[in-house]
């Protein structure tokens, strides 16, 4: 009787051990080679590959758009529609544009802060850029780009750690803002007394404004997928 009990106990223990083993193995199998199991350098390579792929696809988008524009020239109706489309693309930022305007270059302050002064005051921040862009828009700029990022309806200008996020792309000082519009109006809007320029230069932020007879703003290169917005009839 005693040995029977012992045998039963042994079987039980062995069965539990086997169950635990196979459950554990099964669990480890179901684990995908997820992020936590991968090493940083592997992830960096992966990121590089994804970025290369994205750039290649972006080129493809460009050539496909060109083909599409060609197709739009076939009939009279198509020509009218594609002309309207061209115009809308230009306004919305989905086509590159050019014209007279100003180039505003912003950079961190060269002043060295005194002891006890907040060094953050002497760095170029997202709200400085935002203020300049806002002022340019208010002065009638028809197209604006920030370090090659076209300013469109969904564009954000936001602090992203040491960089500034524009169109979900990180840009860093020096920030070059291109604005198409009347050059004199744009510049004087920035130089208004008590205006943007005064606030920025007070902290030593380097601002350079150049009036240009001709400058170019690139097209929006991001991917705008509307998931919520619908046209209202």
């Amino acid at each position: 009787m005693q040995s029977r009990l012992n045998q039963a106990a042994m079987v039980l223990v062995a069965a539990v051990l086997g169950l635990m083993l196979s459950l554990g193995i099964r669990f480890q199998r179901t684990l995908p080679p997820t992020l936590q199991n991968r090493r940083w350098d592997e992830l960096a390579v992966l990121l590089g590959q994804c970025e290369a792929e994205r750039d290649a696809l972006r080129l493809e988008v460009g050539s496909l758009r060109a083909a599409l524009a060609e197709a739009g020239q076939s009939t009279e109706e198509a020509r009218v529609v594609s002309e309207e489309l061209r115009q809308l693309r230009l306004v919305s930022g989905f086509a590159p544009g050019g014209g007279p305007g100003v180039r505003v270059t912003l950079n961190d302050s060269q002043r060295t802060g005194q002891a006890g002064e907040d060094p953050n005051l002497f760095l170029l921040h997202d709200d400085d850029v935002l203020r300049v862009v806002n002022e340019l828009a208010a002065a009638g700029a028809e197209a604006i780009s920030i370090n090659g990022q076209r300013h469109i309806a969904t564009t954000e200008i936001r602090c992203a750690g040491p960089a500034i996020s524009v169109n979900n792309t990180r840009v860093t000082p020096p920030i070059q803002i291109m604005a198409v519009g009347d050059p004199a109006t744009l510049e004087s809007a920035l130089r208004m007394r008590g205006g943007v320029l005064e606030i920025l230069t007070a902290l030593g932020i380097q601002v350079k404004i150049e009036q240009l007879a001709s400058l170019e703003v690139p097209a929006f290169t991001g991917n705008l997928r509307l998931r919520y917005l619908q046209a209202v009839q």
């Binding site: 106990a9 042994m10 086997g18 635990m20 459950l23 179901t30």
Partner: protein
């Protein structure tokens, strides 16, 4: 011994075919408990070789250590102290110690009398 092998196989098969998944949250506790269970098994093997095996001690040790190790890990997770490392270290050392003893016993050497 035969019964143990049969039980082990039954458990393995059951684990493969049972429609239960190990929840991800329990995976860590399960791993540490498994280590404790393995430690008990090697301890039991050694005990049976040197003649001091006792079923009740073995069975209670098996379940008790597994539960204790899992509980220790749980408490460690809650308090932010990596207590499972203590369990892994202690159990790992004991497993190797027991394996060494088993090797000696299987080679019919008295424990601790030889340098190699």
């Amino acid at each position: 011994m035969v019964w143990a092998v049969i039980g082990l196989l039954a458990g393995l098969v059951a684990g493969v075919y049972l429609p239960v998944e190990l929840p991800a949250a329990f995976a860590r506790y399960h791993s540490v408990a498994l280590l404790a269970a393995l430690d008990s098994v090697f301890g039991g093997w050694r005990a049976s070789l040197d003649g001091s095996f006792h079923t009740l001690v073995f069975v209670t040790g098996f379940f008790g250590n597994a539960l204790l190790a899992a509980a220790l890990t749980f408490i460690g997770d809650r308090t932010g102290v990596e207590l499972y490392l203590a369990a892994v270290f202690a159990l790992g050392v004991r497993i190797f110690f027991n394996l060494g003893a088993i090797r000696r016993l299987l080679l019919h050497l008295p424990p601790g009398k030889h340098s190699l």
